[in-house]
């Protein structure tokens, strides 16, 4: 969709931070669909997941309303299904750490974030070079099952800090 991707917010992490937020006070509600790009995300503690929560009125929503359903692609072993309901966050990156080249990259599309009468949905395409030295990735999505408007997303590590990476939020121009 050339010509339709408009950058709204970007956070470039070059030293350890506990979390990264896209949107919040920088949220632009004039779009129906948003794209989130994660590039070269690294963490400070070995074998930890990268998590996500939505922002409601610029604060992370910690309620147990996150559902996920994905196929996990693995270059070294059998694929698996990843699904659950009523979690307090959703999984994005997979067991990354301080090993050389360990990182998460991903593209997500966000839907209905400005609609107070609908759930917030997202597609997820993610790939991680894990601490264990193999390639795993997610193909699927997640939903936050509360009818409410949201104004962004927050990322944080299961344990430790985000060490580096580029987090970018785009709007898809109508």
């Amino acid at each position: 969709m050339a010509g339709s991707l408009i950058k709204i917010d970007e956070e470039i992490v070059s030293s350890a931070v506990a979390s990264v937020e896209l949107g919040g006070t920088n949220w632009d509600s004039s779009y129906d669909v948003y794209m989130v790009k994660l590039n070269n995300i690294t963490g400070s503690v070995d074998t930890q997941h990268l998590f996500l929560r939505i922002l409601v009125s610029s604060s992370p929503d910690t309620s147990a309303n996150y559902d996920r359903a994905r196929k996990q692609l693995k270059a070294d072993t059998t694929f698996t299904n990843s699904s659950n309901t009523n979690e307090t966050k959703t999984y994005i990156g997979q067991q990354i750490g301080t090993a050389s080249n360990s990182q998460t990259n991903a593209i997500m599309y966000l839907f209905n974030f400005n609609n107070a009468s609908e759930y917030n949905f997202a597609t997820l395409e993610e790939l991680s070079w894990r601490q264990a030295g193999n390639l795993h990735g997610n193909q699927g999505g997640w939903v936050h099952t509360v009818a409410q408007a949201s104004n962004g997303v927050q990322f944080y590590m299961e344990s430790g800090n985000i060490l580096s990476g580029t987090f970018t939020l785009y709007g898809l121009k109508k």
Binding site: M1, A2, G3, S4, L5, I6, K7, K37, N39, N40, K71, L73, K74, A75, D76, T77, T78, F79, N101, Q103, N105, I107, E125, L127, W129, N134, L135, H136, G137, Q139, T166, Y170, K173
Partner: protein, 172 residues
């Protein structure tokens, strides 16, 4: 308002070729790229595969390519394919030339120009296999080489191709 999906370069061949390359399409201006192929004619039922070009423009053929691909077929069971230590990324798009041709291939590439990171990518594709039906693929890939890669070379597994256009965009 300026767009952040920016066309960089394309390569096209309307005559029969064994490969097609887009040279010098990766640079320091972008970390993430999209490669689009919306049509290829090939002579057999084949995979469309790719390798990266090094800083001198030569294809990297070392056994450093890993991939995991979910093959989604309209006419048979889905297939989970995976392999490590390949000399190319094999499973991009699969199909047969004919009235249906090969439908479309989108590769999103992360960090190809970075000398300090592996090159990662993901694929969504759709093709059509004669005598079968729709052949979709979603995959993840890594070239386990921390080096500067400047371009991409696209080939078919065991066949020539024509009427092919490869377009490269940067995601700024």
């Amino acid at each position: 308002m300026a767009t952040n999906l920016q066309f960089i370069k394309s390569a096209e061949s309307l005559s029969t070729v064994s490969s097609i390359s887009v040279t010098d399409c990766f640079n320091a201006n972008y970390d993430v790229y999209e490669v689009h192929i919306n049509k290829i004619d090939i002579t057999n039922t084949d995979w469309i595969q790719w390798t990266y070009l090094d800083s001198g423009g030569s294809p990297i053929t070392s056994a450093l390519y890993d991939e995991a691909v979910l093959e989604m077929l309209s006419y048979a069971s889905f297939v989970e394919s995976r392999s490590t230590g390949r000399t190319e990324h094999l499973r991009g798009m699969r199909g047969t030339s004919g009235i249906s041709d090969l439908g479309g291939l989108k590769i999103t590439i992360f960090n190809p120009y970075s000398s300090s990171s592996y090159t990662f990518s993901k694929v969504q594709s759709s093709g059509f296999v004669n005598g079968g039906g729709l052949f979709g693929a979603k995959g993840i890939y890594v070239l386990k080489q921390s080096a500067t890669h400047t371009g991409i070379k696209v080939t078919a597994t065991g066949a020539n191709m024509d009427n092919v256009t490869v377009k490269v965009y940067g995601v700024k």
